[in-house]
């Protein structure tokens, strides 16, 4: 009882004697924020009232078969180019870090060349490759380059080879980020270099490689639009083809933009889950899985094993 009295006394004394704390008001923030909001609303009104834009056309074309076909091509191109880019980039990175000086120089020149020239130039280059290699000889067969390097192949080649150069640097950065003690410990335990790479170094490097690779994939979704210059039937090209017929230029660009936003948003969410999956053993107290966090919040017994460990 006496303890209670003391606390209530102390509490009342606090509120009576001690001064109230008043935080600084940032009036400038209110004003500048209000001004910017007004400007945006004004801009929105202008755009929405425009007689030039047929707003109804946007939902109408959103699921147009041609547009959907374009999305498929864009996705195929993105996945294909990222897969080849990651595979070739990993090869280039290991070449760059090997003890073979020829490998080091060749991958260095490759990265310099393909990172140092614009993607657009590379797309045109592959599309026009037949101009200086008109025929390709495969054993007894002679194939015209133009029949082999179609627009689709040229687009995929350009995007993947360009991506490989970027991925090579990302993979190399990831491998270098792993402490040299890890390789030494693996060697001391009698693992070969290949075993150490596969089981010890790469799983740790992945953590560093994933976030920038996710950014590259999102970049690739958008960069794939560049193949419209060689007439590949990707999302942007389909949108442009449609608007060339009906003159709804802005409307179809909006349709394309909406779809690009949807794709990049989905990719971003995927990247989040991929990253948290590879956070094993690092900052383990903070990086609990989503399900165990929800379970902890609901006080469910699910995932208790992981909580007990901490």
């Amino acid at each position: 009882m006496s303890v209670l009295e003391i606390t209530t006394q102390a509490g009342s004394r606090d509120s009576q004697d001690l001064p109230t704390i008043v935080p600084l008001r940032h009036w400038g923030r209110y004003v500048s924020g209000a001004l910017l909001a007004c400007a945006l609303i004004f801009l929105g009104i202008i755009v929405s009232r425009s007689q030039q834009i047929v707003w109804a056309a946007i939902p109408e074309y959103l699921f147009n078969p041609a547009i959907l076909k374009g999305i498929v091509v864009t996705l195929q191109l993105t996945f294909g180019a990222m897969l080849i880019g990651i595979a070739l980039g990993t090869v280039l990175a290991t070449m760059r870090m090997s003890h073979n000086p020829v490998f080091v120089v060749i991958s260095g020149i490759y990265i310099w060349l393909f990172r140092g020239t614009p993607l657009l130039v590379q797309i045109f280059f592959w599309f026009n490759i037949a101009l200086f290699i008109p025929m390709i000889e495969v054993g007894p067969y002679l194939i015209s380059t133009n029949s082999l390097i179609t627009a689709s192949v040229a687009g995929l080649l350009a995007l993947s080879l360009h991506e490989a150069a970027n991925m090579a640097e990302i993979v190399r950065g990831g491998l270098l980020s792993v402490d040299s003690g890890q390789g030494e410990a693996s060697q001391a335990l009698g693992l070969t270099r290949a075993q150490a790479m596969r089981r010890i170094i790469l799983p740790q490097a992945i953590r560093v490689i994933i976030p920038p690779t996710g950014n590259q994939a999102i970049g690739m979704l958008k960069a794939s639009a560049m193949v419209s210059v060689i007439g590949m039937q990707d999302l942007l090209t389909q949108a442009q083809n449609t608007s060339a017929r009906n003159f709804l230029v802005i409307e179809l660009l909006c349709v394309a933009a909406i779809w690009y936003l949807v794709l990049t948003t989905v990719a971003t969410i995927g990247q989040y889950y991929l990253e948290s999956y590879f956070q094993k053993g690092v900052a383990s107290s903070g990086a609990k899985s989503l399900s165990s966090r929800i379970a902890a919040g609901l006080r469910l017994p699910i995932g208790r094993g992981s909580a007990d460990r901490l």
């Binding site: 003690g181 030494e184 410990a185 001391a188 094993k280 053993g281 690092v282 900052a283 460990r309």
Partner: protein, 254 residues
């Protein structure tokens, strides 16, 4: 007399133009615990790393259990070993590092079974059984599913010792195993090492822990400027050092 486990004669090693080892003569017999002490920069860690070929020697002879470290003798020449052969030689030598070097993406148990399973020393269930015994020996059975980041430095180093033991090495190398630990965690690691010594394991320990060396070592060696300055039983070396360098070092760490 039996052939020594470690036999070094005139071992030399340079990094660029700095000569780190200037002719090291050193022997360890089977079942012996040998502690190497000396000021930092004296080459003691480098010498230890030469024993399992983490560093390549530039001159002299270095043999472990009769075999040249990293080389094979044929027709009077030393041929450098290929990776596979080198890896199996290394598998027989356990090493414990100053900074533990546990694999952070694997749990304590996974850290221990990784090498025995990959090297096909044991099947996975067998390796797990052995690993649990080893974890029990270092007093960390309850931490088997913990990741290294969830363990204290002393616990990490004990897991690292268990990891090295899992390969059933004929020789254990310790590279300043307590130097990266908070003072209150040194004891738990040293007591594990003392038990290993009592069990008759062959150990080469680079350390600053004079007390440990005095209690556990069969031979104590003082290195300075890339050479072994003095060797003897710990009692002789610490209580009655002959060489002026040893006298100065013993005085400084007392």
């Amino acid at each position: 007399m039996m052939q020594p486990i470690v036999q070094a004669e005139g071992v030399r090693k340079s990094f660029r133009h700095v000569e780190v080892l200037r002719g090291v003569d050193f022997e360890v017999q089977n079942g012996e615990v040998s502690c190497i002490i000396g000021p930092s920069g004296s080459g003691k860690s480098t010498f230890l790393r030469c024993i399992n070929h983490l560093e390549r020697i530039d001159g002299g002879r270095l043999r472990v259990d009769g075999d040249y470290v990293g080389y094979q003798e044929r027709d009077g020449k030393l041929y450098e070993l290929n990776e596979k052969a080198l890896a199996s030689r290394r598998a027989a030598i356990g090493m414990v590092f100053q900074r533990f070097n546990l694999f952070p993406h694997l749990t304590a148990l996974q850290n221990i079974i990784e090498a025995p399973v990959l090297r096909k020393l044991r099947t996975k269930p067998d390796a797990i059984k052995h690993a649990l015994e080893l974890l029990d020996q270092v007093g960390l059975l309850n931490k088997k599913d913990a990741y290294p980041a969830q363990l204290s430095g002393g616990q990490q180093q004990r897991v690292a010792i268990a990891r090295a033991l899992a390969m059933e090495p004929k020789l254990m190398l310790f590279d300043e195993p307590t130097s990266a630990l908070d003072p209150e965690l040194v004891g738990e690691v040293l007591s594990v090492m003392k038990r290993l010594a009592k069990e008759g394991r062959t150990m080469v320990v680079v350390t600053h822990e004079i007390g440990f060396a005095q209690e556990v070592a069969d031979t104590l060696v003082l290195m300075d400027q890339g050479r072994i300055v003095e060797k003897g039983s710990p009692r002789e070396l610490i209580n009655n050092p002959q060489h002026p360098r040893t006298q100065a070092f013993v005085r400084s760490v007392r």
